[in-house]
Amino acid sequence: MKTDNEPISITVEYFAQLRACAKKKEETHNLEQGDLSALYARLKSQYHFPLERHSVHVAVNDEFASWDTVLRSGDRVVFIPPVSGG
């Protein structure tokens, strides 16, 4: 059984302007356990995302999730910038 400090591996997929900033469609991250807001803060800093967290939604494994969701190894995360369909 994993301990709380064991690193996990997750996949992040990017869309729209976040993909343009990250310059990639998806990538795998190995990181300490933490929640979605910590992950977004890290990536925002790394890729200079122009969007504050409050204007972004997030999905884990293809369902909307709350920012305090704790990540588990194997999770697939998508940050959702303001949508503009229709």
Binding site: E63, I80, S84
Partner: protein, 141 residues
């Protein structure tokens, strides 16, 4: 019946309509979103729509199923196109059939508002002046 679809091809309006034909329904309302030649005063050349397909289908289907129940529709369907679109092309079509017309108008109008607010689809506009922008629709057209 409620169906939400995403397509890379031109939307087949006649086929969308025919899935909703129903001899118990007296009203049918269809909305089409067309690519306009201007946006915020800039001349638009073309657009690229991109979708987070899996969640877009889940959320779109959820919206339509909710409206179908809420208004007792005989059916409601939506097709959203993604990829490169030229001015004048149809980006999205939502249509509904019901016994009476009021439910159809309400449901299709609400479907569009919810889709624009909740479904992970993004519009990238390319302008005649050489610029481009990821559109952010915070307000409701």
């Amino acid at each position: 019946m409620s169906i939400f679809q995403i397509t890379r091809d031109p939307i087949d309006l006649a086929s969308l309509r025919s899935t909703l034909l129903d001899s118990g329904s007296g009203g049918f309302v269809s909305f089409e979103g067309w690519i306009r030649n201007r946006h915020n005063g800039r001349e638009v050349l073309r657009l690229e729509y991109e979708a987070y397909d899996k969640l877009a289908l889940t959320e779109g289907s959820r919206i339509l199923a909710e409206l179908r129940n809420q208004f007792g529709l005989s059916g409601i369907a939506c097709i959203h196109r993604v990829g490169l679109l030229e001015v004048g092309e149809v980006a999205v079509c939502v249509a509904a059939a019901a016994e009476h017309r009021r439910e159809c108008f309400e449901a299709v109008s609400l479907a569009m508002s919810s889709i624009k607010r909740r479904v992970p689809i993004w519009k990238h506009e390319f302008y005649a002046d050489g610029g481009d922008a990821w559109v952010q629709c915070d307000h409701d057209h």
